[in-house]
Symmetry: C2
Subunit: 353 residues, 2 copies
DNA sequence: CTGAAAGCGCTTACAG
DNA sequence: CTGAAAGCGCTTACAG
């Protein structure tokens, strides 16, 4: 069975009583449907008097424009699909908010899809969304996504903007954070405050963002002539619990780091928990930095020095890039790197003891 | 000019090359379009062999079902509109996530709209969404919304579920949190820990949720025979800054409270800031409770005792209620009160000193 | 300036 | 079991 047809008709609902259509208006005013259509679309061809009568009737009957019908006839679309992992991640919620704001301003409506970080669900969600004929896609791919699979469901759709996660083999537009520069800034910050033994903590080495952050970290250390032994690069799933559980790995060796550049804020918060439960005061005895500037970062104990990417602004930027793509479908794929800023909160990155 | 026609065609985009249609498939297989349609919709009428040939061709040509066209012809819809204040509020982000999850499971797609807490933007957003003919609306009204105005744009649309904010004069389904019970639980908690002078801090008295929370607070005090002088009911916009600025109002009088039930977590966090800057240790010298259990509540200093509404579950519930409404458009409007649970985090609600 | 006709991609009785 | 025809609500050349 063809995937695209699975569930066809499922969830479709008979809408209420017959709505008012252009035909109703045309009959009432005594003009053709074409004339009503011209009025609706603001054509200058229509006689001012005719226009006024039509508009009055539109109001009187509380006519509601059926944009989906118009889109079908004109072979256009006025929606875009936004597919992310999960809105309960504040970073993506902010991002979505920015996308929706920018797109709404341009007359587009946002179709929402959540993958829950599952490539299978992602395929299903994209399939459903495709059936609604969006103009384009803004997609933050689920971990483990495969470009070929995506191409299979997205088909010839050129209007796709990938966000945040690199996808080998994909030739769509791509918007990414400056991960390397961010980690570089965090590492330099720790170095400037006197740290000489700095670990990189958390993330999956296989992911592109982790790879880039690690390389920014290594670059800063190399420039300062500081060591970056492999046992100081510690992997952890990006959640608080596992990060806390991995804390011990930092101190397995004799030569202990005095600070850690963390993959992201969640991992940093987990590490802070882990440190505390070992009697090590984060910020006091051991410096920590994060990445993302989630809202908890500001109220954590101690407040977390981190990198802010302004996710809402990234959302606006993603929308703008997609619109640009729509204007020139033939242009070669663009790769855009968004800046990232160090947000210093003194206490989490204290001087070494 | 009719509002509903403003911007018609704006943002519409020519879609790429001609897509594969049922006609293409029918011609290739040598059957009628009707037969292809029956296959697509899984009709048992079709000969198994015919079905197989059609399905093979659908795959071969990578056919994508055009659900919008089908919806037009069938006079159905497979989308619902979700309109909230702003996704950057984690409570609503979680809520939206739950809605989308539940709706996606039923074959619906979510159309997103944000009001930014502005009734004017809300009207514009709803107007646009209406043009996309959603099956129903889940709407958390902007502050200052007016039922008559909403009815004007939503028209005869019966399939509307209001969430979280009471709207006088509205006769749509309504899902609300048990605000009264929540504040009652928080107040009792403080009383049980020995507090006798308890204030209610934050929120706009005019809003229904603030009113309900205050009345739960008063009920608990009344049951315990404790005073609730009017100067201990302090208004504040629900943001951190204003809450911090209002802190002094708690201590204007001679008779100082030793604890405050706060309108929500944001206000509570602001109050905690305000207390700290006055040298009063929140949790230590002055007990505080919140409402919402936003993610900062757990990591605040001290961790905040609050009420959790499980917003994601509320989202699922809202979706379920709307689906129920679709099944029976004639049923009288339902009012559903969702439970709320006290989440005790010891340190923020210490015993009085 | 306005209308008659055709058509977007699909589905649904109705024949056979 | 399958096909011819009509139609969802709109728009677009094309005449006049």
């Amino acid at each position: 069975m063809n995937d695209t047809t699975t569930g066809a008709g499922k969830g479709a609902r008979r809408t209420g009583k017959r709505p008012v259509t252009v035909t109703d208006i045309a009959q009432a005013v005594g003009v053709s449907r074409a004339t009503v259509s011209l009025v609706l679309r603001g054509s200058p061809l229509v006689n001012v008097d005719t226009r006024a009568r039509v508009e009055a009737e539109l109001r009187r009957q509380r006519y509601v424009y059926n944009r989906t019908a118009a889109n079908l006839r004109r072979r256009t679309s006025s929606s875009i699909a936004l597919v992310i992992n999960d809105l309960s991640n504040p970073f993506f919620a902010e991002f979505a908010s920015g996308v929706d704001e920018a797109l709404g301003g341009k007359g587009y409506v946002t179709l929402l899809g959540s993958t829950g970080e599952s490539p299978e669900r992602q395929q299903a969600v994209l399939t459903t969304l495709m059936e609604h004929t969006p103009t384009g896609f803004i997609l933050s791919p689920a971990e483990g996504s495969d470009a070929a699979q995506l191409r299979q469901v997205l088909g010839t759709h050129a209007n796709v903007l990938l966000f945040n996660r690199e996808l080998p083999g994909a030739d769509w537009d791509f918007l990414t954070l400056d991960n390397q520069q961010g980690a570089y800034l965090a590492t330099r910050h720790l170095i400037e405050r006197g740290h000489r033994q700095i670990a990189f903590f958390g993330g999956h080495a296989a992911s592109s963002s982790c790879h880039q952050r690690r390389s920014g970290y290594q670059q800063a250390l190399a420039e300062a002539g500081l060591p970056a032994p492999p046992q100081w690069m510690i992997e952890s799933a990006p959640n608080r619990l596992e990060a806390a559980a991995r804390t011990g790995d930092l101190f397995a060796d004799g030569d202990r780091p005095s600070a850690a550049v963390c993959y992201n804020d969640t991992v940093a918060l987990g590490l802070m928990l882990g440190l505390t439960s070992r009697g090590i005061r984060p910020g006091g005895d051991f410096a920590v930095t994060g990445f993302d500037d989630i809202s908890e970062a500001a109220v954590a104990v101690p407040p977390l020095t981190t990198l802010t990417a302004d996710p809402r602004e990234r959302g606006r930027q993603a929308a703008a890039l997609l619109l640009q793509r729509l204007d020139d479908p033939e242009a070669p794929p663009m790769r855009t790197v968004a800046p990232v800023q160090l947000r210093i909160r003194e206490s989490s990155a204290a001087r070494p003891t």
